[in-house]
Symmetry: C2
Subunit: 201 residues, 2 copies
């Protein structure tokens, strides 16, 4: 059993590691950086995580929870194509507020770890599945509300939105410009609009 | 003036560095790795590049040339939506041949360097511009050939394809599966097909 105080220390380490790994990459995050950022000792980090690998997996889960927690309430309210465009605009404005730096935390971890750490890759896959699921549930809710026609393949459209979002965040990070992210998302939504029911399009 | 032999040595260093940085990242590529892979001495690397930063920029240019050199001949032949789908399938099959590992060399460099190296970021931006330009030229050729209607915004559609491609390569790398890349590209092409002239759709 972990005590309440122990849980708070563990959480503080994960949040500090998540910030550092997002800014500097996993390889670029040292034990010393983390001790300073979290205000903990090396032995505390060892006590809760054993090694960097276990900590990295906790960080992937942290970012997956954060991302799904951000998107789910926005996506649950979708009732027409305009609402979907508003969701895209929230994503663009959130990225703009950070001057398009950083890109996607999950995407950056995926890029760094997918080919060299199978356990971390499994955790990234879980994160992407949950994110795709949240988008699909939003599109499915639109269908239930009569905004999308019966033939709309919400699984496929959700994956297309996720890939546009991942590519858009990456290219916008490189160009430090909204256009790739906005164009990627809104072009996919233009396509989704072709499945809108006539009275809601 | 660099001699022909000097140019060959320089090229060998760039190709070896490009392979290592693609597999291990820039931070994960040591001088020792590079000396072993290229069969050169530390002083030869210093002679041609001075520091790792100059070499990294040469690697970004190498990958931009390689990518544009791969896509341009494929895109120059586009004459209808089916040809565009064949281009997408070549991309998917090329990624599959590598078991979806690695993702996009330019995207991986963008992810690692965009926030910490302004000169490298500029070179990545040039690479993305050339790539987007090659896709736009392909779509523009389709328009000239009468396969796309006058109202098709080929600049915007090219950027949407580039973001779908970048996101698709990243998510397919994470999932080690063709579906994200294939779905991202073909969904964008489904949208482009809505601009096809009636007799070519």
């Amino acid at each position: 059993m972990i005590t309440r105080k122990g849980q708070a220390t563990r959480d503080r380490i994960v949040v500090a590691a998540a910030g550092l790994m997002y800014q500097q990459g996993v390889a670029g995050t040292s034990a010393e950086d983390l001790q300073a950022a979290a205000g903990v000792s090396a032995s505390q980090i060892y006590h809760y995580f054993g090694d960097k690998h276990a900590l990295t997996c906790a960080v992937i889960k942290h970012w997956s929870d954060t991302i799904v927690g951000f998107h789910e309430p926005l996506l649950a309210r979708l009732d027409d194509i305009d609402a979907l465009r508003s969701w895209a605009d929230v994503i663009v404005e959130t990225a703009r507020a950070n001057d398009f730096r950083g890109g996607c935390p999950l995407g950056s971890l995926a890029n760094e770890l997918a080919d060299c750490d199978e356990v971390a890759r499994d955790d990234v896959v879980v994160g992407y599945r949950r994110w795709r699921g949240a988008i699909r549930d939003g599109l499915f809710a639109m269908k239930i509300r009569g905004a999308l026609i019966e033939g709309a393949d919400v699984d496929r459209l959700a994956l297309a939105l996720l890939t546009a979002l991942q590519g858009g965040l990456l290219v916008s990070k490189a160009l430090r410009d909204a256009e790739p992210l906005s164009t990627g998302l809104h072009t996919t939504i233009d396509h989704i609009a072709s499945f809108a029911t006539p009275d809601t399009a």
